[in-house]
């Protein structure tokens, strides 16, 4: 390729990146504004809190990506053409970025020292001045921290939704005139097309520039924001400015876990133990918590009722088929999770206990992890060649890549709260071999595994829609819930699509309350 060709290629990659980044920035802006507003509202109004928090509880653990076909469907129905699809993509990214920002703000406001509020009462500060002098400064560091997490999650959604919206054969046509359901420019689109047309150089350059953009964003956007936000926090309270890729719930697990019986799923861990509330004095009685649980059940029941009314017919028609597909996806997800555990447990034990260079490894991991699994797909496919289990292996790899980082970062971040002298205790009392693993290493990272586990599984479900979709034309997996969603979307089978989503949501809620909630309850006896 000559120089002009190369320059052209790079220019086109840059244009695509700029489009993608614009979507990201818009989504982040919307998420931050909404997050601050809703977060403050939830933290200062008892009634709002009761409605908002349970809803977010559900949304956070749902694989929102699986709603993508549904969302596109609706957006296009409402706003036809290019604008509709753009809005759908931005909407989707926003749904991935928003929840943790709301919680960050909510949590920040709830952990404001009581004295500040008393001081504000004492000086009779107006609502606006309270916002300006107390609430904004207190939540700003959290907003920035959460924004970085949101950015990483958002990248995955961005690329995936771009790829997804391209459609299967859009690239072959010159000028990239994709179908009506697709965005036409974006790094996800570009990479898919390079891969589809065998443009290895374009694909490699695309990934390199993608990584450069990720790193540049970190340093040019988030670093200054961090500095700005943290100028309020006192020097003595040293905030972590590194390793914020996954500022994760585990950090809270040790400090803020609620006493048994009052936990809610994962997000609960994000919340500090109740302090005196910000407005007036309101205490969270058990009854109140019961209330928000009840709301959750009401929502679920409502959803179930809608299905009942709308489609006993469809239920009879499709439920068996859905469950059959489900079995396969559940197997894939959990086997992938088991494999991820088998990799990350020894890896993290090594990083935490056996090496002094763990922060350099983490930095490396952060860069690798910022590459959404979905843009690596073409490379993985190429590497796989034509092995007989081709599509099954690819799906499996995507599951693992999508989930494992959450585990690793969550464990590493929780490890910062470990008691300092663990290794010395182990050495003084001569714990070796199996006993050391059983009593020290593995036990030490359980909280990180639990908090990372929920997110890892959620991420895997999110990935299922891509993993099981990819290569369907050639040899995609034949059964799976992601596959079912794809095919029902492609064939415009809205009832099936909807019913499958409800099933997915129900499954997530059930697993949450059966598995994770119990584990947290146990943990809360230990870390309080």
């Amino acid at each position: 390729m000559d120089a002009t060709g190369l320059a052209g290629l790079i220019a086109s990659i840059l244009v695509n990146l700029v489009f993608s980044w614009s979507r990201m920035l818009i989504a982040l802006g919307v998420s931050v504004l909404l997050g601050i507003a809703v977060g403050i509202y939830a933290a200062t109004s008892k009634r709002a809190e009761k409605v908002i928090i349970p809803i977010i509880d559900i949304f956070q653990t749902l694989p929102i990506l699986s709603f993508f076909p549904f969302v596109i469907y609706i957006f296009i129905a409402l706003i036809p053409g290019f604008v509709g699809i753009e809005l759908a993509v931005i909407f989707l990214i926003t749904t991935s970025m928003l929840w943790n920002i709301i919680f960050g703000v909510y949590e920040a406001l709830n952990s404001i020292p009581k004295e500040y509020i008393e001081l504000a009462d004492l000086y009779n500060l107006s609502t606006w001045r309270r916002l300006k002098k107390i609430f904004f400064p207190a939540s700003l560091p959290y907003v920035v921290e959460q924004s970085m997490l949101s950015w990483s999650i958002g990248l995955f959604y961005l690329v995936t939704s771009e790829i997804f919206s391209v459609g299967t054969d859009a690239c072959q046509i010159a000028g990239n005139t994709a179908g009506i359901y697709s965005v036409k420019t974006g790094i996800g689109v570009a990479l898919t097309c390079y891969a589809a047309t065998g443009n290895t150089l374009g694909y490699a350059l695309g990934i390199i520039f993608f990584i450069l953009f990720v790193i540049a964003t970190r340093f040019l956007l988030f670093r200054p924001l961090e500095n700005y936000a943290n100028r309020y926090t006192r020097q003595s309270v040293q905030r972590k400015t590194t390793n914020t890729y996954l500022r994760n719930a585990a950090v809270r697990l040790f400090k803020y876990l609620e006493p048994p019986g009052t936990e809610r799923i994962r997000v609960r861990l994000n919340r500090p133990r109740r302090q005196e509330k910000i407005i007036a004095s309101r205490s969270a009685s058990p009854a109140e918590k019961q209330e928000s649980w009840r709301l959750k059940y009401v929502l679920i029941t409502l959803a179930l009722m809608i299905i009942a009314i709308a489609g006993v017919k469809y239920l009879v028609l499709y439920e068996l088929e859905i469950l059959r597909n489900f079995v396969f996806s559940i197997l894939r997800v959990w086997i992938a999770f088991a494999v991820s555990l088998a990799i990350s447990v020894p890896l993290c034990v090594y990083l935490i206990f056996f090496t002094k260079k763990s922060s350099s490894y983490i930095l490396l991991f952060q860069v690798i992890a910022s590459i959404p699994a979905t843009i690596l797909l073409p490379a993985i496919v190429a590497m796989m060649g034509k092995s007989p289990y081709h599509s099954e292996i690819i799906a499996f790899l995507i599951f693992i890549i999508s989930g494992i980082w959450y585990l690793i970062f969550s464990i590493m971040s929780a490890s910062k709260l470990l008691p300092a002298n663990i290794l010395e205790v182990k050495r003084i009392f001569g714990l070796k071999g199996l006993a050391a693993w059983k009593k020290v290493y593995v036990r030490a990272i359980v909280p990180g595994i639990l908090t990372g586990g929920v997110t890892a599984i959620a991420a895997e479900w999110n990935a299922s829609i891509v993993a099981e979709y990819y290569g369907s034309g050639v040899s995609g997996v034949s059964l799976g819930i992601g596959k079912l969603l794809d095919t029902s979307f492609a064939s415009n089978n809205l009832p099936l699509l909807f019913l499958a989503l409800v099933n997915l949501a129900a499954m997530v809620v059930i697993v949450n309350s059966l598995l994770w909630k119990r584990s947290y309850k146990r943990m809360s006896r230990i870390y309080r």
Binding site: P419, R427, F429, R443
Partner: protein, 248 residues
């Protein structure tokens, strides 16, 4: 009998800053030795070197005439922040102390319960450390240290994070153990920055300088136990220790 000999120990964490500079002293059987010095002078580092947790840059530590090359049976450690493993119950934490012993799990359990009983912690064996008060945590820490049947107990500011009342009781427990031949622990080396505590408990106080720590003075205290903190001799010793500490 000579239990521990610290022989010309020097240490630096990095080539830039020396932390310990040629410290020597000895500990005999039955002796309570305090290492006294200002915060950050290197006391914890020195105690960890004695325990075999850190290798000295220069010099050596002898326990019963043998080089200490790593954690050694016979030397046990009580940590300033207790260092209980939060995910083990209090009983399991004490059982850690028996790890090196060749006895059945059942036996470990029985002996650990006995120790918990001795320290007034029965009823908390199946609870996790998080429900204990600071004083109770440190008693678990001491029980765990004693479980390994040590000759010498190394304690790093064991009472500094406890309230004065609790600390007083625990100090007496330690002294009682030291006096009683049937119990383990025949010598104690305790790091502290509390002058009064050092004089109340010790037969010998090793006074360290600011970082890098060298031995400014070794003070022998020949007062009978229990010591009256308001007695004339006690106060005189306090004054002279303060004088050494203040001197450049």
């Amino acid at each position: 009998m000579r239990m521990v000999e610290v022989d010309d120990i020097s240490f630096m964490y990095s080539s830039a800053a020396k932390v310990i500079d040629g410290v020597s002293f000895t500990v005999d059987k039955g002796e309570f030795v305090s290492i006294l010095g200002p915060s950050g002078c290197g006391k914890s580092t020195l105690l960890r070197i004695i325990a075999g947790l850190i290798k000295p840059s220069k010099g050596r530590v002898l326990y019963m005439g043998n080089d200490v090359k790593g954690p050694t049976k016979g030397l046990s450690f009580v940590f300033q922040d207790f260092a209980l493993l939060p995910w083990l119950t209090n009983l399991q934490n004490v059982e850690l102390g028996f790890s090196l012993m060749d006895i059945t799990e059942e036996e470990k359990r029985k002996r650990s319960l006995l120790l918990l009983d001795k320290f007034g912690l029965i009823g908390f064996e199946d609870a996790y450390p998080n429900v204990l008060s600071g004083g109770m945590k440190q008693r678990v820490g001491i029980a765990r240290a004693i479980a390994s049947d040590p000759d010498v107990l190394l304690m790093d500011e064991p009472f500094s994070s406890l309230d004065e009342l609790t600390a007083g009781t625990l100090r007496n427990d330690i002294l009682f153990m030291l006096k009683n031949e049937d119990l383990p622990v025949h010598s104690v080396i305790m790091v502290t920055h509390n002058v009064e505590e050092a004089i109340e408990l010790s037969d010998k106080v090793v006074i360290l300088s600011e970082k890098p720590a060298y031995v400014k003075a070794v003070k022998d205290l020949r007062m009978k136990q229990p010591r009256n903190k308001h007695g004339r001799e006690f106060l005189k010793n306090m004054d002279s220790v303060y004088a050494v500490l203040a001197k450049d």
